[in-house]
């Protein structure tokens, strides 16, 4: 994990409130943001777009062997969520350990602590999702 304050700071609009991009030439939404539309390239026109934070579980796993910084959260359910607006993202699903989730379950965004660097370091916040 890269522990950089500027890195975290410049990702705040995406991580805190799911601000993505849209290509107005082909009408495709992207998350995370893109500078170039991979479908249209030079013909593409990229604009910012605010996603609603609603979607469905496309795939999931329960992580038992965590990466550094997530030791106090295991086990946790990690999923690929497909947003209503089209793009997919990787995220944690909260409050489901022991209850289980299925492909196709509806989810909504919640604001949570993602990880902490160390007792005196940065607290990284961002999106997770819950079942609806």
């Amino acid at each position: 994990m890269q522990k950089s304050i500027p890195l975290t700071w410049r990702r705040i609009p995406e991580r805190y409130r799911l601000l993505g991009t849209k290509c107005t030439n082909c009408n495709t939404n992207y998350f995370p943001t893109r500078i170039v539309c991979p479908k249209c390239r030079r013909r593409g026109k990229i604009e910012k777009v605010q996603f609603r934070g609603l979607g469905r579980i496309y795939s999931f796993t329960e992580i038992s062997a965590p990466p550094a910084g997530f030791e106090d959260q295991v086990p946790y359910v990690l999923a690929i969520v497909e947003l209503e607006e089209g793009p997919r993202l990787t995220t944690q699903i909260v409050d489901v350990v022991g209850k289980g989730v299925k492909i196709g379950d509806g989810v909504a965004i919640v604001f949570r602590v993602i990880q902490r660097d160390d007792p005196e370091g940065l607290i990284h916040y961002g999106f997770k999702f819950r079942l609806v």
């Binding site: 890269q2 796993t61 038992s64 946790y76 993602i114 961002g126």
Partner: protein, 386 residues
């Protein structure tokens, strides 16, 4: 384009080499390959070496110069190539292109990773760099987690089972038990896999390839010069490479690797062959589900039938198409940068009849398939006897 052949091969044993460092391993493999090619060393014009993360694993960058120095090959150019776990396969492709183009005649290609100088947690964190650091790893993903997403979709779309995935590990351990270079030379049962500790559901410890130290090397030459150095050179008849989205969530499908399909298509076109012409293959089984997807994406089995085919023994040493005769990444071990070159060494040995207890009978055409990260890079090579 000139035709290119392998005239020498060498590798270290794969495993936990506490007594040997980065340069010891890469020099051993390189020296063995050069000796196997009956070269003095003066004939070598250039080198390409694949390593994924020497900078973070052993703190050493600039390994091209280091290797030229310690191999006694100064002042020839040696260049590092990086494509995560596909670094070795990409290094071979660079060497292949250098010889095919006529830029160089004799070229040495190596792959190396020294992984056990750090603890498992640190190594896992470093390997995470093969995925999307900001949008996968930062949010709590691990590599087993990413492959678990693929396994879950494959199970959902094709009814693939945990038992089918376990059968990949069982088969590869059976092959590894016949390979004195393998990290794990011990057979295991389906129950061992199914009862092992869950890492990222549905993947368990025995679905995962290990952390390994090791190096492998080959020497390349134009076909017209090959017989001068080597009795039975092996020709690289095709090379294909492709890229896909770095993050798994940005790919169209999770139950296949598009980069594998494209790299294989390019390689088969170049070789003027089809998947049914391939007698055996070394594929990238970093996780058991990865081998199931690979045998489908390479065209050996229909989509969704790779798991059943493995469980039924079709990819065993005596099956329709033996897969991972070396033991694969699972049993032979996975020193990430070395893996792609080791696959080529194994295929060369099989085609030369040097595969000892695991020799495939009448092997004519062999294929290697090396993947970077969760599938953002794939490289395929096809080989046959000259």
């Amino acid at each position: 384009m000139r035709r290119v052949a392998i005239i020498g091969t060498g590798m270290t044993t794969f495993g936990e080499h506490w007594d040997r460092g980065f340069r010891d391993l890469v020099i051993e493999a390189g020296a063995k390959a050069i000796q196997d090619a009956n070269l003095q060393g003066n004939e070598i014009e250039a080198g390409y070496v694949g390593t994924m993360a020497s900078g973070r694993l052993v703190g050493q960058e600039h390994i091209g110069a280091l290797i030229a120095d310690y191999m006694g090959l100064n002042p020839i150019p040696i260049t590092r190539v990086e494509g995560a776990c596909a670094s070795g396969g990409l290094a071979l492709r660079q060497g292949f292109m250098a010889v095919a183009s006529g830029m160089h005649d004799i070229v040495v290609v190596g792959g190396i990773e020294k992984m056990t100088d750090l603890g498992v947690e640190e190594v896992s964190d470093i390997l995470g760099g093969a995925g999307d650091q900001e949008w996968e790893l930062f949010l709590g993903a691990t590599f087993p987690g990413l492959y678990a997403f693929m396994a879950r979709r494959h199970m959902f779309e094709y009814k693939t089972t945990e038992e089918m995935m376990a059968s990949v590990a069982v088969k590869n351990h059976k092959n590894g038990a016949k390979n004195k270079f393998a990290q794990f030379q011990k057979e295991i049962s389906i129950e061992t896999v199914l009862k092992s500790k869950v890492i990222a559901d549905p993947l368990k410890v025995f679905d995962c390839s290990p952390i390994t130290d090791g190096a492998a090397a080959v020497v390349l030459a134009p076909v017209e010069l090959a017989k001068k150095y080597c009795e039975n050179p092996i020709e690289i008849i095709a090379s294909g490479q492709a890229s896909d989205a770095i993050a798994l969530h940005s790919r169209e499908s999770l139950s296949k690797l598009r980069a594998t399909e494209v790299a294989a298509k390019k390689a088969f076109e170049m070789a003027k062959l089809s998947p049914k012409n391939v007698d055996f293959a070394e594929v990238h089984d970093c996780f058991t589900i990865a081998e199931i997807m690979a045998v489908e994406d390479l065209g050996f089995f229909k989509k969704g039938e790779g798991g059943r085919a493995t469980l039924d023994g079709k990819t065993a040493l005596d099956g329709e198409i033996p897969i991972n005769t070396s033991g694969g990444l699972k049993a032979c071990g996975h020193p990430v940068g070395a893996t792609g070159v080791k696959q080529v060494v194994e295929v060369t040995w099989q085609l030369q009849g040097r595969a000892e207890g695991r020799q495939v009978k009448d092997a004519e055409i062999g294929l290697t398939h090396n993947v970077g990260g969760s599938g953002a890079t794939a490289v395929v090579h096809i080989m046959k006897r000259v």
